[in-house]
């Protein structure tokens, strides 16, 4: 049971949150210019690193806000928490 520091509410149990997968995935467009391959990549292909993973979390049973988490997939340590739209901390960029 991870302890995640919501940037708006503070530390809360993992069960209050939902993980939304890898962060910083840009939606390609306009649609006409996007190849099938590029679109498939956007829909399905995600990084699966051993180590730092930048991911989106939703505090669904709390403030209802999305935010970003940098988490070590080996130790499950939460290395940083930052708001949607913010760039990842420089030292944690994979």
């Amino acid at each position: 049971m991870l302890l995640i520091a919501c940037p708006f509410c503070g530390p809360r149990d993992e069960t209050e949150f939902r993980c939304g997968g890898e962060s910083h995935i840009a939606r390609p467009g306009p649609a006409e210019t996007v190849s099938d391959e590029r679109w498939g990549d956007y829909l399905f292909n995600r990084a699966n690193p051993k180590g730092v993973h930048l991911e989106r979390w939703l505090h669904g049973h709390g403030c209802g806000q999305w935010f970003n988490v940098a988490r070590d997939t080996v130790s499950h340590r939460v290395l940083a928490v930052y708001r949607m739209g913010d760039p990842p901390p420089k030292d944690l960029t994979p």
Binding site: L2, L3, E14, G20, D36, L58, G64, S75, M84
Partner: protein
């Protein structure tokens, strides 16, 4: 047998003033408060407690605590029965009834023991090798195997007991209340930290309860009493006895199973929760979980009477029980010398102590010889003879390398063999926390090495067996943990204790065999040293493979006494070093936790909350049958008298088609959307265009996922230039709300749109049928109701039966219909007013089943019934709703994939069964060719299928490959071994022009 034949008249931590009666396998015995079932049985001279898992060999009590592999019993009867309880951890209470597991007809004469005689036929991997051929016979084999194996029986009745769950936070959690844990809790508590000390036993104290020694110059037990009293007086310290820390999860989250009432007779448990699971978030964790003694692996080491040396010692000291009349002690380390002395003092004649080491500790040996106990150096017990109880031990000298035997055999008569094969630190919780282990040659055991979480192991749990050192470690760790949380200066003074001699074990993992007996490694799962050697020869040389192939360590004891022996023997067999073999994964729980405790209070009606509409009491009174839709209780149908489902639904449908029906539609998801960019949001998430929708009008919309597949649908109304009211499917409400929020927050954060779920703010009654407008006209003086002023797909504010209402002209039934929204508090009043005023039209409440039939007659799809996440708008024949000119919407690019345009995609069609009385099975497969041999190519499936009272025949909706081009064809439809034929039609069966719903 005299009562408690093996109980000494004095000593032990039992209350002799009270006598408790209990039964074991139907026979009556007595014990005292403070006893476990195991100590009470031994006090009555009972060693034989069960039969083994595979060979059905007689088995006795081996340990004195959580490590017990053998003495599993079925406790209690009826609904209160509990299987596979360790007799060593079951506290005795008056009237306790226990029985052996895994033996039939009885423990003394067991029919499965034939397996023991056929032992050569049951090698490692026996089941894998024998029962895999022919494959189809597995079902027959399985029946026999499941009956022959297995342990106790699960209760068949619902559990009548109550369980609790609670959450807690603390600065320091101490797991284990032995000397190291107590020292840690005292140091952390004195510094002022919030401390939880949990110990699995009824009494705090751990090894101090059974051992001797002095602390701070006084008997250890006196120090223990002071320590527990001091902890009890600290406001910020919570001491939990009978509480097992069973799991160590991420971020210092731990589970504790506390047994609140198991030690009481059932009659005294009334009104109390039986068990409670604590979920604790701890700042720091001190693991003081002690160590588990290992058996030695020699022939016949499973005979009743062969037990761990510490257990024999604990029974003597803590429970004043003589475990036998004449004992042999065999050890590879120093600790069992004290056992020999304690046994002797308790009145057990100790015939001999065999020490595997050629060089024995001089001082200890001297004490034994003063007590008249012979020490046989460099010797081992190589065979235990006997049947339902050990009768003698064969002693031989060991060769220098430990693999050969020398000299003559001595047969020493005895009824107990106390065994010590060294110590394994209880690193279970440490390993669960993600910590890495290290093999420590000095103690021949795995010890904690690298931590991953904020924890520290102390005392025997980290291989520190000396009492003085364990106390010092505990105190240091407790003070440091409190300091890390901001309490105290991080220092503590440790109580002083007399130091013991250092343990220097001689690991001989498999004592050489003098004959052909079985030497057990995993005594619960009947895995022998020979099984492990065989598995290694067959290539199962990785420890995780070995475990699964031989099942070693996979019993309810999770190999507490056997795992290290098993992997050491594997290492020997494969010529590998023990650290290179490694351990299997330690998983929670440390000891089994009941499902009841894990479920806690979230059972029955509290398992999942039920959502009820404002009109629910009316439905209940009307005798409605309900259907669960998400968490909602929705009226399914309203039977009159003895009507069946089908009779009621036919009547409800006829009423809607010919006069007037009323449905509780309150459960539809409703989202209030406001802001300057509200229309932009709708344009993004719906496939059609929303900017041009006038205030006062509604529009149907389809939502797609980015892959182009249908996700939800519903009607959205424009309440104002920047204000919309969206409806969603009942089950999709939360999902859609989250979906919109996600798009707004993560992709369009600059848009100014605000979403509010208003599902439960509105109660909704939908009235439908040719008389709907007439009823509205009576109750609704301030809304113009004719089809020109209030057209289909419009909404109006007004009053209905005097209640402020928002009325939508939408229809899911195909009839002229009005959905009347009122504040939830007015829902019941509205419903009653409509029922009263509608009586002249025989207004008929209808449920979800009739609604499904009515909408299917119109070919209206239900997301999740006609769709399954692989269906596009085009597949549903709804290309008209996909905005061709819209530059973007969610799913637009996904729909443009070539695969979404294949003409042979599964498309929505209607089906009319050839037999108009036959209702096809929903989910039935449409075949390409009814005569084709299996595997038959499947072309589609039935998604909805009903009897239509309106059409006086059956009909269905289906998804069929290239279906739109196949109208008129007859196709075979197969389900449950039966093939039917049906004609493919367009998916609409009633009022194709839509005159009724617009009229």
């Amino acid at each position: 047998m005299t009562a408690q034949s093996h109980r000494n008249p004095t000593g032990g931590r039992i209350d002799r003033a009270r006598t408790l009666g209990f039964t074991f396998n139907g026979r009556y015995y007595e014990g005292h408060p403070g006893d476990t079932l195991a100590s009470a049985l031994l006090a009555n001279g009972v060693h034989l407690v069960g039969r083994s898992f595979k060979y059905h060999r007689p088995r006795g009590i081996v340990g004195s605590g959580a490590e017990e592999p053998n003495a599993l019993v079925q406790l209690g009867q009826g609904a209160l029965t509990e299987p596979n309880v360790r007799a060593t951890q079951a506290e005795l209470h008056d009237g306790l009834a226990a029985a052996s597991v895994n033996c039939w007809p009885g423990v003394r004469w067991d029919i499965g023991a034939i397996n023991g005689l056929l032992g050569g036929l049951f090698p490692a991997g026996f089941y894998y090798k024998t029962f895999m051929w022919p494959a189809r016979a597995w079902r027959a084999y399985e029946w026999f195997i499941r009956r022959a194996a297995g342990l106790g029986l699960a209760p068949r009745e619902p559990d009548p007991e109550r369980y609790d769950g609670t959450h807690a936070h603390c600065d320091v959690l101490v797991a284990g209340g032995g000397p190291a844990g107590l020292a840690a809790a005292l140091a952390a508590g004195r510094a002022g930290g919030r401390v939880i000390l949990a110990d699995e036993q009824a009494e705090i104290g751990g090894s101090l309860l059974a051992g001797g020694g002095t602390i701070d110059g006084r008997p250890a037990r006196a120090w223990l009493d002071d320590a527990t009293a001091e902890l009890a007086g600290m406001a910020e310290v919570r001491v939990l006895p009978r509480a097992t820390v069973f799991g160590y999860y991420d971020h210092n989250y731990l589970g504790i199973a506390e047994r609140l009432a198991d030690h009481l007779p059932p009659a005294e448990r009334a009104g109390r929760a039986r068990q409670r699971v604590w979920k604790v978030r701890a700042g720091r964790v001190v693991l003081a979980t002690g160590a588990i003694e290992r058996p030695l692996v020699f022939d016949g080491n499973d005979r009743p009477g062969v037990m761990l040396a510490t257990a024999a010692q604990a029974y003597a000291n803590r429970w004043a029980v003589r475990v036998g009349d004449r004992a042999v002690v065999v050890t590879n380390n120093d600790s069992a010398y004290q056992t020999a002395l304690d046994l002797s003092e308790s009145g057990v004649a100790v015939a001999l102590l065999a020490d595997l080491r050629a060089e024995v500790p001089a001082a200890l040996a001297q004490r034994l010889s003063r007590a008249g106990i012979e020490v046989a150096a460099g010797s081992a017990v190589v065979d235990a003879a006997g049947g339902t109880r050990v009768t003698s031990a064969e002693i031989r000298r060991l060769g220098a390398d430990g693999t050969t035997l020398e000299g003559p055999a001595r047969h020493v008569p005895c009824d107990v063999i106390a065994v010590s094969g060294g110590w394994s630190p209880a690193v279970h919780l440490f390993s669960q926390s993600g910590g890495r282990l290290r093999w420590d040659e000095a103690i021949a055991g795995f010890v904690p090495d690298i931590s991953r979480q904020a924890e520290v192991s102390v005392g025997a749990a980290r291989g520190t067996f000396d009492l003085a050192a364990a106390l010092a470690e505990g105190a240091r760790a407790g003070a440091a943990a409190a300091h890390a949380a901001g309490f105290g200066d991080g220092t503590a003074t440790a109580p002083a204790a007399n130091a013991r001699e250092v343990i220097a074990p001689r690991p001989v993992w498999r004592v050489p065999s003098a004959g052909r007996g079985k030497a057990f490694v995993d005594i619960q799962n009947d895995v022998t040293a020979a099984d492990i050697a065989l598995a290694a020869r067959e290539g199962y040389s990785a420890v995780e493979h070995l475990k699964r192939y031989t099942t070693t360590g996979m019993g309810t004891d999770q190999g507490k006494t056997s795992n290290v022996n098993a992997l050491a023997i594997l290492a020997h067999a494969t010529g590998t070093a023990i650290p290179a073999v490694g351990t299997t994964t330690f998983r929670p729980p440390y000891t089994p936790v009941t499902f009841g405790a894990l479920a806690g209070r979230t059972v029955g009606p509290l398992f999942d909350p039920a959502r009820l509409t404002a009109m629910h009491p009316w439905h209940v009174q009307a005798g409605t049958r309900f259907e669960d839709v998400g968490q909602w209780k929705r009226p399914w149908y309203y039977p009159r008298g003895s009507e069946t489902l089908h009779q009621a639904v036919a009547r409800e449908c006829r009423a809607v088609r010919t006069s007037l029906g009323i449905m509780d539609a309150s459960t539809l998801g409703k989202i209030d959307i406001q802001g300057p960019d509200a229309a932009k949001l709708l344009d993004l998430v719906y496939t059609n265009a929303w900017g041009g929708l006038e205030v006062g009008r509604c529009r149907y919309g389809l939502m797609l996922k980015e892959d182009g597949m249908v996700f939800d649908d519903g009607v959205t109304a424009r309440l104002g230039p920047q204000h919309f009211h969206m409806t969603t499917t009942t089950g999709g409400a939360a999902r859609v709300m989250a979906w919109l929020e996600e798009w707004l927050q993560t992709e369009r954060p600059h848009w100014r749109v605000y979403l509010t779920s208003v599902t439960t703010q509105w109660a909704v009654a939908a009235i439908a049928g040719p008389n709907a407008r007439r009823l509205m006209a009576e109750l609704c003086p301030n809304i113009a109701l004719d089809a020109i002023d209030f057209p289909f797909m419009a909404w109006r504010d007004g009053t209905v039966a005097g209640i402020a209402a928002r009325v939508f002209r939408v229809s899911f039934s195909g009839e002229s219909a009005f959905e009347i929204n009122v504040p939830s508090s007015q829902g019941m009043a509205l419903w009653q007013a409509l029922m009263t005023a509608g009586a002249k039209y025989d207004i008929t409440p209808y449920g979800t089943e009739a609604m499904h039939v009515l909408r299917a007659e119109k070919g209206f799809v239900i997301v999740g019934q006609e769709t399954d996440g692989t269906v596009t708008p085009g597949d549903l024949g709804m290309d008209w709703i996909v905005g061709k000119k819209k530059p973007d919407f969610v799913g637009r690019r996904g729909l443009a994939r070539a695969d979404c345009k294949r003409p042979d995609r599964k498309q929505l069609v209607g089906l009319l069964p050839q037999d108009p009385k036959e209702v096809l099975v929903e989910g039935a497969q449409i075949m390409a060719d009814a005569a084709a041999p299996p595997p038959v190519p499947m072309e589609g499936h039935v998604t909805s299928s009903y009897w239509s009272a309106t059409l006086s025949r059956s009909f269905a909706l289906a998804l069929l490959k290239g279906g739109r081009a196949r109208h008129g064809q007859t196709v075979p439809v197969h389900a449950y071994g039966k093939t039917s034929w049906a004609q493919v039609t367009e998916p609409i069966f009633y009022d194709k022009e839509g005159e009724k719903l617009r009229g």
